[in-house]
Amino acid sequence: MSVHRIMGIETEYGVTVPGHPTRNAMVTSTLVVNAYAHQVLAGARSRPRWDYDEESPLRDARGFDMSRAEADPSQLTDDDIGLANVILTNGARLYVDHAHPEYSTPEVTNPRDAVLWDRAGMEVMREASRLASEISDAPVLLYKNNTDNKGASYGCHENYLMRRSTPFADIVRWLTPFFITRQVFTGAGRLGVGQDGRQLQYQLSQRADFFEVEVGLETTLKRPIINTRDEPHADPERYRRLHVIVGDANLSDTATYLKLGTTALMLSMIEDGFLAGHDLMPAHPVREMHAVSHDVTLGHQLELNGRRLTALQVQRELWLLASKYCAGRWGHQLDEQTSDVLARWDDMLNRLERDPMACVAEIDWVAKLAILDGYRARDGLDWNAHRLQAVDLQYADIRPDRGLAARLEERGRLVRMFDDEQVRRAVHEPPGDTRAYFRGESLRRYPDAVAAASWDSVVFDIPGQPHLMRVPTLEPTRGTRQHVEQLLDSCATAADLVAALGNTPASA
């Protein structure tokens, strides 16, 4: 499997209307999504809605369902309450979730593509905020961050398709120490400690302080390091979708790439049982997660079963295991991207060990800290200066001319992995190697006929037909360019496509 598997990223963006702090966030988020949908789907007869048939957000990977009576209302996402929710031609989903505009990338097969379609999402949000500002009486601004520093947090979730047969306990045992320590390169930096950020001190992660338990189903309260939500959006007998909620929303491409790449490598080792016999589980995971994030010298030592190791040392042990695993399993046949992830992971750990500032062009928390330190030195500011808190927020402003990460990129001070043209293409085109291809292309080719879609279906409304026609896409690795491009090319209309699919034994 290596770093290659079905994966994706969903990001909730912070939303604000300067000068109108009391404006309803759900209404503003809806405006953002609808403004974009109205423009890009202008050709569609009616906007294709999300098809909720297969969603079950209360299913638990541990094997039981939570009852609705026990659930907090904020956990219910499958009740369509009329909020904006659309599918894009790149196979992504753009919608309103919990008072934030959210973009979910299409399913991709590797970390590099995840970065590209995540960048495309930022581009979509930039355009959406521009359009929303035009039709609003005040600018609508979006932020790719995870907290307002006043007690609220919103997520950037990773999703990884896994083998159903892998014991969940193995996932918990291995991903817990990995997640606690990967913050050294995935942290997006935050000025403020505690959920309400009351202590004005810099820390590695935006999200760490919002995690309160080790394992659980919730995502909006009592957040768990390992989330057990289990909606595979695929054959549940074969697959589980690992829903990772601990991550920060990264502005740096390299950080996103390593976040997904190293996690995918961990999952590969866990699935192959390679880690049996090793133990890096901390005695107090939640406390350690906070402590690692709070120590920007990276000197904090975690207590692990009689040993004391820094986060970097834990990462080094995991890297050594990963490189042994890849050498033993693939040797010289190791694919290019897995080899690249291993090399960059190694390189990042080495530089962090020597001096974190050596990673200023790749790691968000370091890039942000360099600006804050610069201000403190130049203007003699204390950590409680409002200007420093403004820098913390504005680092994540997605406007190219105002966002600080964007300004650093413009100057070549934050490394980009893709140029503007590649990102622009990914805004409109789906990845070719997953079912997102069938979804996105169906919408692009037959905009009038797609009534609804979801991760595992496309629903067609064929003129003259009494019923909607639901095409299941339960297998994420099918419906690719290779599988269906020829078929789509041969069908001038959706009616032709549905007829052709009706005569074919396999679904898309």
């Binding site: 909730e12 912070g14 604000t16 300067p18 000068g19 702090p21 966030a25 759900m26 904020s74 979730d97 919990h98 008072a99 934030h100 907290t147 307002d148 520093n149 006043k150 007690g151 609220a152 919103y154 997520g155 995502t219 909006t220 909620i245 890297w319 050594l320 490189s323 042994k324 050498a327 080899s339 690249d340 291993l342 090399a343 960059r344 190694d346 390189d347 080495n350 530089r351 020597r354 001096d355 500032m357 050596a358 200023v360 360099a370 600006i371 610069g374 201000y375 130049r378 409002h386 200007r387 808190q389 403004a390 820098v391 927020l393 504005q394 001319d401 600080l404 300004r407 100057r411 001070r413």
Partner: protein, 65 residues
């Protein structure tokens, strides 16, 4: 550092190698950053929200996932 990591490291992209001299590269890189930091701050001065206190205070979000 173990043999293993040296072997793996040889596949690192050019310019990111950790061979002797890498710390000189880091120092060089850092010096370049320091030289540029004033320019960066000057630019940030021009794009930073004007009333930072008001901006920070009014940045209020509803909780999400």
């Amino acid at each position: 550092m173990s043999e293993q990591s040296h072997v793996e490291r040889s596949s690192a992209p050019a310019g990111q190698d950790d061979a002797p001299g890498a710390s000189a590269v880091d120092a060089e890189r850092k010096a370049a950053i320091d030289a540029d930091v004033d320019a960066i701050l000057d630019e940030i001065d021009t794009v930073l929200e004007e009333n930072s206190e008001e901006f920070v205070k009014s940045f209020v979000q509803k909780g999400g996932q």
